[in-house]
Amino acid sequence: MIKRSRITMIGIIVAIIAAACAPSADASREAVNVALSQPVILAGSTQTVYLKIGLQVDGEGDYRAPVNLAVVIDRSGSMQGEKLARAKEAAKAAINRLHPDDIVSVVAYDDTVRVLLPATKVADRAAVLGAIDGLQIGGNTALFAGVSVGASELRKFFDRERVNRVVLLSDGLANVGPATPAELGALGASLKKEGISVSTIGLGLGYNEDLMVRLAGHSDGNHAFVEHPRDLARIFDLEFGDAVSVTAQDILVRIECAEGTRPVRVLGREAEIAGRSVTVSVNQLYDAREQYILLELEAPAGMSGQTRRLAGVSWSFLRMGSSPVTERGTSRVEARYSADDKLVGANEDSTVMVAVVEQIATERNRLALDLRDQGRIDEAQALLLKNCNYANNNAVKYQSQILTDVALENEIDAQQIVKEEEWTVQRKAMTEKQLKRSKQQKR
C-alpha cells in the first residue's frame, strides 16, 4: 500500500516535470514577447512607461541559413603589407567554411571599383579563392561605390530566403564619391529596405568610425573595430558565423497606440512615428539571441482600479528553415491603474527595466562622446561616472549581469576618455559598443 502510493507519487512527479518541460521542448519559446515596464500604473496623472517587444526566433535543429555574401575589400594604398595579406587570409578562411550552395562575390575598390569575382556559388571554391589571391594594392578610397557595387552583386541572386549581406573591410577615410556619415547612413537605410544589410569592419586607426557605424547601423549589419590585422581572421569568422545563424528575416512590428496614449520615441533604433502609430523594421534575428524594440509611451491619467488598453501590437516575420514561412501575430497591451505606489513598484517588470536602463545608459554614453568631441573632457568623464553609478545601482536593484557589464564599460570609458593619446582608439571602441548595445548584437 505504502509502496504503491510511493509509485503513484513518483508517477505524479514525473508527469508534472514532463508537463513543465513539454512546452519548452516542443513548441519553442514565443517569438515575440510584449511587456510593459509597469503593468500597474500609478493613477491620477499621465505617466511615462516603456513597452518592450522582445524578438527571438530559435533555429530549428542544426539548420543553417543559406547566405548570399558580397565581400567588399578596400585596396587603397594604406592597406599595403600585413593588412592586405591578413585580410586575404581571413576572407579565404571564412569563405572556406561556407557551403557549396552559398553564394559569394568579391569586390575590391580604390579610386575605382573592380568586381574580382561576380556573384557565384561557393561550389567553385578554386575560382573564389583565386579571386581573393588576385587582390592588389591601388590608390584612393571609393567606399560608396564599393558598397554600391557589392550590393549590386547581391541583387544578381537576391533571395528573401537567403541572408543577403555585404561585408565591408576598410582602413581608411572615404575620399571618392559621397563620403559623409549621413550619406552612407542613407545608403544603408535604402539597402535595408531591400533586405540587404552591410556589416562593416574598421581596420586600424585611420577609418571614420561614425561613417562605418552609421552604414552598419542603418542597414542592421554588424560593426567591428579591429585594431590589429592579426585579429581579422577571428572577426571574419565571427561575421560569417553570424550570417549563417540567422533564423528570421524581414521583421516588421507595428504599434498602434490607443486614444490618449502618446508614443514618445523608440530607444536605440530607427523608427517611423506618425500620429499614434509606430513602425519598426528589423532585418534579421539570430539563433538564441533576443533583440528588442523599446518604445517610450506617455500613458493617459487613469483612475485607481481601472484597466485600460494602451496599445495594440502586430508583427510579421519570415521564419527561416528548411521551408521558410511568414508568421504573423498580434497582441494587446493593457495596464491596470492603482493609487498604491508600493503595488506599482512591486509589479514593475525587471526584464523591461533592464532594457530601459541599458538603452538610457547607451544614450548617455553617446552624449559623453559628443562632449569629448567638443573638447569638454571633464564633463564627459563626469557623465560617464554618473552613468556607471546609474547602471550599477540598477544592476543591484534588478539583479542584472547585463547592467553590471554596462557599469563596468562606462567606468573603463571614464578612465580612458581623459587620455589624449588613447582617444583615437577609445572613440572607435566606444562607437562599436554603442551600436552593439542599441541593436543587441553579438559581443
Binding site: 535604402s190 529596405k193 523594421s281
Partner: protein
C-alpha cells in the same frame, strides 16, 4: 664648308620634316581618341537615360492608383529602396497624403516643407509639344501625365517623379538622392585598369552639381598628364551633373616617338641623308600600322573584362549541365566563340607588348602533346561545324620546357588560319616529333596553300593590312608574326615547309630554351 653644308642642310630639313610628321601624327591620334571619348560619353549618357526611363516605368506601376490610404503610401515608402517620400494631391488641390495634423510623421512634414514651392508651381498639363525621351507619352496622346522635376535643396540636385491619374490627382515621388547616386555608380561602365601591362588610357568621372566626383573609372590624371578633356552634361533631368573624360597623353607614347625620331636623325646625320629618307619611308607604314594596333589595343582591354565574365559564367554553366543536355551544343558554341575572341584580343595585346619590348616567355617543364590536345579541343566545335576533321599524330611524350600559354597562342593562330582559309581541304593534321635537340610540331592542311612568292612575307606584320582596321588585326598579318616571335623567344623557329598540297607550318622548340635577347 660645302661638306658641312651638305650634312647640316639635309639633316636640318629632315629633322624638321620628322618633327612635323610626328606632330601631325599626334594630332591625328588625338583626334581619333577625342572622337572615341565623345562617343563613349554619349553612350554613357544614353545608358543613364535608359535607366531613368526604366525607373519611370517602375514608378508608374507602383503608383498606379491614387485611391489609397496612408498605410499604403507609407508601406510603399518603407519597402521601396529608391523612394524617400510621397505626396498625393487631389484634383481640387486638397492634400490627400501625407495626412495633416497629428498623424503626420516628422520626415513627412519636412518633406512637405521642402516641396512646397514645387506644389505651388504645379505640374505641366496640356498638349505635348516637346516630349523628351524619358516622358513615355504614348500612355496619353494628348497630355503630359507624368515626368521628372529636378530640384535643389541642401546638398544638391534631387529628383521628383510625378504623375497625374485619370481622376486628375497628382502623385509625386521623391527619389532617395543617395540611392540614386548608388544606382548610377552601378549603371556606369566599370572597367579595371590593367596595371600589369601598364595600359591605362581613360579616366572618366561623373560629377555632381558641386563638382564632386560621384564615381570614376580609370585612375585620375596627374598634373599636365591629360591630353584631351571631353565634357558632357547629362540629359535632363540630371542636367546639373557632368560626365568628364580625360585621355592620357603618356599612353600615346608620344615622347617615345620623339626620342626615336631624334635618334634616327642622329643616325641619319652620320650615315647620310639618303639612307635616312629610305629608312623613314619604309618604317613609316609600320609605325602607322602599330599606331592603329595601339588604338585597337586600348579597345581590346575594354573588351577583355566583359569577355572574361562571359567566359567564366559560360564555363560555370557548362560544368553544371549534364553531358547529354540538349542545350550543351549552344553552350559549346558560346565557349568556342569566346575562346576565339580571347585569342584575337590576346594577339593584339601580345603584339602591343612586343612593340613595347616587354614580350617574354616563361618556360616550364611540361608535355607538349597535352597542350596540343587542349588547344585543339577548343577548335573542335567550330571545325566540326565546317565539316573538318583533325588528324592527330602526336609523339612528343618527353616533358620539355616551354611556355604553355605561348604554345597555345602559336598553335591557336595556326589552327585559326586553317579554319579560315583551308576549310575546303576538310582535314587539319597535327603532328609532333622529338629528337635529341628539339621538339617539332607541324600543323598542315589540304587547303589552297600559300603562293611561293609570299612564303616569307606572311610572317611580316600587316602584310594583309588594308584600310579596314578589323581585317588588319584578325588577318594572318599579326597572328603569324606573333607566332614566329613567340617561337623565337623560345630559341626556336616557326617556318613554312614544302608540302605536296596545302600549307604546312613547322614549329621547332629546342630542348634547352635559350632566351634570346631582343
Amino acid at each position: 664648308m660645302l661638306l658641312v653644308l651638305l650634312v647640316v642642310l639635309p639633316t636640318g630639313l629632315l629633322a624638321w620634316l620628322a618633327i612635323r610628321g610626328v606632330r601631325d601624327e599626334r594630332v591625328r591620334v588625338a583626334g581619333q581618341l577625342y572622337a572615341a571619348a565623345e562617343s563613349r560619353l554619349t553612350d554613357v549618357d544614353a545608358r543613364i537615360e535608359r535607366w531613368l526611363e526604366e525607373k519611370s516605368g517602375r514608378l508608374m506601376d507602383l503608383t498606379a492608383s491614387s485611391n489609397r490610404d496612408a498605410v499604403f503610401w507609407r508601406d510603399l515608402v518603407r519597402t521601396t529602396p529608391e523612394i524617400s517620400q510621397i505626396v498625393v494631391r487631389a484634383a481640387d488641390g486638397r492634400l490627400v497624403h501625407p495626412p495633416l495634423g497629428d498623424a503626420i510623421s516628422d520626415a513627412e512634414s519636412q518633406f512637405l516643407v521642402r516641396i512646397r514651392r514645387i506644389l505651388e508651381r504645379g505640374f505641366p498639363s496640356g498638349p505635348v509639344e516637346t516630349a523628351s525621351p524619358y516622358d513615355r507619352s504614348q500612355r496619353s496622346q494628348s497630355a503630359i501625365d507624368h515626368g521628372w522635376v529636378p530640384w535643389y535643396w541642401d546638398e544638391g540636385l534631387h529628383l521628383l517623379f510625378w504623375r497625374r491619374d485619370p481622376a486628375g490627382s497628382i502623385i509625386a515621388v521623391e527619389l532617395d538622392r543617395t540611392r540614386l547616386m548608388s544606382d548610377l555608380v552601378v549603371a556606369l561602365p566599370m572597367e579595371g585598369d590593367d596595371s600589369r601591362s601598364g595600359v591605362n588610357l581613360w579616366h572618366m568621372a561623373l560629377e555632381d552639381s558641386q563638382g564632386r566626383v560621384l564615381s570614376q573609372t580609370g585612375s585620375p590624371m596627374a598634373d599636365g598628364e591629360a591630353m584631351e578633356t571631353v565634357e558632357r552634361r547629362l540629359s535632363p533631368p540630371l542636367g546639373a551633373w557632368v560626365l568628364r573624360a580625360e585621355v592620357r597623353s603618356s599612353s600615346l607614347g608620344a615622347l617615345g616617338i620623339y626620342l626615336r625620331v631624334a635618334g634616327l636623325i642622329l643616325v641619319a646625320a652620320v650615315l647620310g641623308g639618303l639612307a635616312f629618307v629610305f629608312h623613314r619611308e619604309s618604317s613609316r607604314e609600320l609605325r602607322e600600322a602599330s599606331e592603329r594596333v595601339g588604338f585597337v589595343n586600348q579597345v581590346s582591354h575594354e573588351l577583355r573584362t566583359p569577355l572574361t565574365n562571359i567566359r567564366l559564367y559560360a564555363e560555370l554553366l557548362e560544368r553544371r549541365l549534364g553531358e547529354d543536355d540538349e542545350n550543351r551544343s549552344y553552350l559549346d558554341i558560346i565557349v568556342a566563340e569566346c575562346s576565339r575572341l580571347s585569342r584575337l584580343i590576346g594577339n593584339v595585346l601580345t603584339f602591343a607588348r612586343r612593340n613595347r619590348g616587354s614580350l617574354a616567355v616563361h618556360p616550364v617543364e611540361g608535355s607538349v602533346d597535352e597542350t596540343l590536345r587542349s588547344v585543339t579541343a577548343q577548335f573542335g566545335p567550330s571545325l566540326e561545324a565546317k565539316g573538318m576533321e583533325i588528324a592527330f599524330d602526336l609523339a612528343a611524350t618527353q616533358p620539355v620546357p616551354f611556355d604553355p600559354d605561348a604554345l597555345e597562342q602559336i598553335v591557336g593562330n595556326l589552327l585559326s588560319n586553317v579554319e579560315k582559309y583551308a576549310a575546303a581541304g576538310k582535314v587539319a593534321e597535327i603532328s609532333s616529333r622529338q629528337n635529341d635537340r628539339s621538339t617539332l610540331i607541324r600543323v598542315a592542311d589540304h587547303g589552297p596553300g600559300i603562293p611561293e612568292d609570299r612564303e616569307e612575307s606572311v610572317f611580316e606584320p600587316f602584310v594583309r593590312l588594308s584600310d579596314s582596321l578589323t581585317e588588319g588585326v584578325s588577318g594572318t598579318g599579326i597572328g603569324l608574326s606573333i607566332a614566329r616571335e613567340l617561337a623565337r623567344l623560345h630559341g626556336g623557329e616557326l617556318r613554312l615547309v614544302k608540302a605536296d598540297r596545302g600549307a604546312c607550318f613547322e614549329l621547332e622548340l629546342p630542348k634547352k630554351p635559350a632566351r634570346r635577347p631582343r
